[in-house]
Chain length 146, copies 2
């Protein structure tokens, strides 16, 4: 998207998709990283706050990252990220949900010598329009000095 | 840890560990969810800001969650999480790093009817003492009404 910090356009938006989250993938991720009953077991999930099997929030974040990398980062000069603010999961991802993301450049500011930080809002939406996740990533870009 | 919101003790701390992050697991996670060169390829990683192969921040978050679930959540009444604030990765996780976590209950407040939210700081540390990750999770607990 942008090769250098100087090229980054505040206000730019992009949409990337799609990624279908299967029941099998929800279970595989949960078994390894988030083995809570509502991510692993249909019956326990039915009794939970979610009313059925849902993906781990960290799984939703990981799927989102795959869309960010394929659609944006690997065609950019981005050097990694310092961190993330305001990570929220307003609606859970359920088996078969198809996710897409919207990326919005919020601002840009110098970070360390030769590197700038670019707060970027990433919103993950399900096919039915519900927002599954949102956050602001603090992405690093190299300064060209030009 | 705590079955209900009423039982939650603000200021309580717990340590949980350990989890060794292997090179193979770093590559497997990155191939699926974060295929940036510094998570996949030793030579590209050597040229990056990180100076060598590092785990995806989302991988570090996922490993951390496994420690949180095994050590805390599955022995508690926790109902899930609304989201996460101030997620930071001050030092990258490299192949062979052994991670442990410290959990600190920061505060507690009502959320919706019958449910409270408990801001909880989760700090992930490597065996050499460097902090790999920190965040504040907003964890939900059921109110007993007692």
């Amino acid at each position: 998207m942008f090769a250098t910090y100087e090229e980054v356009e505040v206000g730019a938006t992009t949409t990337v998709g799609e990624y279908e989250v299967t029941r099998e993938e929800i279970l595989t991720f949960a078994e390894q990283y988030d083995p809570q009953p509502f991510h692993l077991d249909e019956e326990a999930a039915a009794q939970s706050l979610f009313g059925g099997l849902v993906a781990s929030g960290w799984h939703t974040a990981s799927v989102t990252m795959r869309l960010v990398v394929d659609g944006i980062l690997n065609d950019s000069g981005a050097m990694g990220a310092v961190g993330v603010d305001e990570l929220r999961w307003p609606n859970p991802v359920r088996p078969g949900d198809v996710l897409s993301i919207e990326v919005e450049i919020l601002e840009k500011e110098p970070w360390r010598e030769g590197i700038g930080v670019v707060p970027t809002r990433i919103t993950t939406t399900k096919a039915d329009g519900e927002v599954a996740q949102s956050y602001v990533g603090r992405v690093l870009y190299p300064m060209s000095g030009e």
